[in-house]
């Protein structure tokens, strides 16, 4: 009888040990390299909501945010080094470059700091990566396009910020999609920098030199600008893939009400920052089985469900999703294979 009691107590201790390990004294810093667009603003907002509650609930000791003034790699590398000096236990990072920060990241790991990267990930093996499958997103764009434009035709591609891994991955996915759907042909490519104004200018410039375009494949943040450019040029409205921005979905809604316009929208949810936060917390919690590469799904909206999401997005913002500790544990579990 006594033995069973002791065993029971032991089991209870073990069970509570995994659920309630003490991270309440741990400090987590967020190193962010850019805050100048709606996506990044939503990312910071989501992060603030989740971490404020986590600190108030004494799950972690502190969760401070540090943003650099420019998109520069050296500035962020210096910032990471300063965070090491500040004595943080973990750094959540949206990196300016996948490779060029590795020196600083390695220094952080060597100092015993847990590094979790997301969105702009780092390739240094000691860091964790919360990765959205951008390549699949690019491929899906063409798959969806094939549904709306079954006859095929000419496509215009809008690229993101040149030289980034995200732009490269989405572009590779789009090329793969076009290879699988030979009825489509990319007749032009412009750089939109994930920004409506830049995209509008770029599309307006290339439009006069293009044959008729049936669809626009892009990277998010550029769909509304592209729509404006087509309208201004008096060209027929093509199927434009959207990127979960409020202005894009609003425009889609207006067009849908007018004549049943169909398209598809996808982007990485800015709230993925909160998922990275919880992953860092889990590692600090003493979990040793967390894979260094965590693949998480992107956030997509279809013809049927985008209108429900629209009212929740702030004007000028982007659709987000705040992750919970349970989401992180589930994501870790899904990636352990």
């Amino acid at each position: 009888m006594k033995k069973i009691f002791v065993l029971g107590a032991l089991a209870a201790m073990l069970a509570s040990g995994t659920a309630l390990a003490d991270t309440s004294g741990k400090k987590i810093a967020f190193s962010n390299n850019y805050a100048g667009n709606s996506w990044r603003q939503a990312m910071l907002d989501s992060y603030a909501i989740v971490t404020k509650k986590a600190v108030a609930d004494k799950v972690v000791g502190a969760a401070d945010v540090f943003t650099t003034a420019d998109k520069e790699v050296p500035t962020q590398a210096a910032q990471v080094q300063n965070l090491i000096l500040q004595g943080y236990d973990a750094i959540v990072i949206n990196a300016a470059s996948p490779d060029a920060l590795n020196g600083a990241i390695k220094q952080a790991c060597d100092a015993g700091i847990v590094v979790v990267s997301f969105d702009g990930i780092v390739t240094e093996p000691c860091a964790y990566r919360v990765v959205v499958d951008f390549k699949d997103m690019g491929k899906q764009e063409v798959e969806q396009m094939a549904k709306f434009q079954p006859k095929g035709g000419n496509l215009l591609e809008i690229r993101g910020l040149a030289g980034t891994s995200i732009d490269d991955a989405i572009h590779a996915g789009i090329l793969e999609g076009v290879a699988a759907h030979p009825e489509f042909k990319i007749v032009g490519s412009v750089t939109g920098d994930w920004d409506q104004t830049t995209a509008q200018k770029a599309v307006a410039t290339i439009l006069p030199s293009l044959p008729d375009v049936v669809g626009v494949v892009d990277q998010g943040g550029d769909g509304y600008g592209a729509a404006q450019a087509f309208a201004a040029a008096g060209k027929p409205r093509p199927t434009i893939i959207m990127g979960n921005r409020q202005d894009e979905l609003q425009w889609w809604k207006e067009q849908k009400e007018k004549d049943g316009y169909q398209t598809w929208s996808a982007s990485i949810a800015p709230g993925v920052s909160t998922l990275a936060f919880w992953v860092a917390q889990q590692v600090l919690d003493g979990r040793t089985d967390v894979p260094h590469d965590l693949l998480v799904p992107y956030l997509a909206f279809t013809q049927d469900d985008f209108e429900a999401a629209l009212p929740k997005i702030p004007k000028g913002g982007v659709a987000s999703h705040e992750y919970t500790q349970e989401d992180a544990i589930a994501a870790i579990k899904a990636n352990i294979k």
Binding site: N32, A35, L44, D64, V65, F66, T67, T68, A69, D70, K71, E72, V73, P74, T75, A77, A78, Q79, Q81, N82, L83, I84, L85, Q86, G87, A96, S97, P98, D99, A100, L101, N102, G103, A104, K106, Q107, T123, A162, G163, T164, S165, D168
Partner: protein, 303 residues
């Protein structure tokens, strides 16, 4: 007197602020971390100082550093000979730019602004996506840990000493500065202004190459956009270090100190101050303006 001490004074002020905010940073480890990214900035600032000494401005130094970084992380590692040839060739391009600007009497701002897009484009061609790896000898050099004094400080002293001797203590250094100070007198004395301009631009290219290599030695890997911020940082560093836009009035020691001050004020100071994220970007700019304004105020009082 105060004027020449000002760069050192502002550096001391920033260091005191950092020591007060985070005493842990004032250590061998702390200085190694805080200052190692100041080395490439100091080299880029020296590069900018040479063109400013000749009354010109180089708006392409940032993207040039990025281009050099991409070459360093790719060809210099995989085919060292080709890498060296390309880097030497790029210094040659700088020398040609100097000749072009002098012969056609073109504004250097326009020429170098154009070149900045050329360097950026070539960097993206070499590395369409970030990657590459620094040569091992470069990594070993930048990770070097000398006894007692952190490597960045040793490097800064060395850079300042070498350039100070070359530009301020040799006779050709006087000629180079004279080409910015009083080119008419120099011409009448029989010196070739074409040659001085070529020399100044080639030196800019040389230090730009050193800056790019040092940067990649620290970051270990390259990115086509890695150096873009260096253009304005380097100009600010020269001015903060006591240089003037015209008149060949520059100071190599001041420029190195200016670069260190900027590197410390922009990043460690800001991080240690715990400014809310919404204000960090603006605070960064505010610190730069305060530091530069102090410099202008004091030097105006001297006159």
């Amino acid at each position: 007197m105060l004027r020449s001490l000002l760069p050192a004074l502002s550096l001391a002020l920033v260091l005191i602020a950092i020591a007060w905010l985070n005493p842990r940073a004032i250590s061998y480890f702390g200085f190694s971390l805080m200052l190692n990214l100041a080395i490439p900035i100091a080299l880029a600032t020296i590069a900018q100082m040479f063109v400013i000494a000749g009354n010109e401005l180089d708006l392409s130094i940032g993207t040039f550093v990025g281009f050099v970084g991409c070459v360093t992380a790719t060809w210099l590692k995989d085919a060292p000979l080709l890498g060296v040839v390309i880097l030497l060739g790029s210094i040659g391009v700088y020398a040609l730019l100097g000749a072009l600007i002098h012969l056609r009497n073109l504004p250097s701002i326009v020429v170098t602004l154009g070149m900045s897009f050329v360097w950026q484009g070539m960097a993206i061609l070499i590395l369409p996506k970030p990657g590459g790896k620094a040569p091992d000898w470069l990594l070993a050099l930048m990770a070097f840990k000398p006894p007692f004094i952190p490597f960045p400080i040793v490097a800064a002293l060395l850079i300042a000493a070498v350039v100070h001797f070359g530009l301020m203590r040799t006779s050709y250094g006087v000629i180079l500065r004279g080409s910015g100070g009083n080119s008419a007198a120099l011409k009448r004395a029989g010196w070739s202004l074409l040659r001085t301009k070529i020399a100044l631009f080639a030196l800019t290219g040389l230090f730009g190459v050193l800056s790019g290599m040092a940067l990649i030695g620290i970051t270990t890997s390259a990115d086509a956009n890695i150096g873009n911020g260096y253009t304005l940082l380097s100009i600010a560093g020269v001015i903060l270090g006591g240089g003037e836009f015209v008149g060949g009035r520059v100071s190599p020691i001041g420029a190195v100190i200016g670069a260190l001050t900027l590197a410390l004020a922009a990043s460690p100071l800001l991080t240690f101050m715990h400014i809310p994220p919404d204000w960090q970007v603006a605070a960064n700019g505010a610190i730069l303006i305060i530091v530069l304004a102090a410099r202008v105020l004091i030097s105006r009082r001297e006159r």
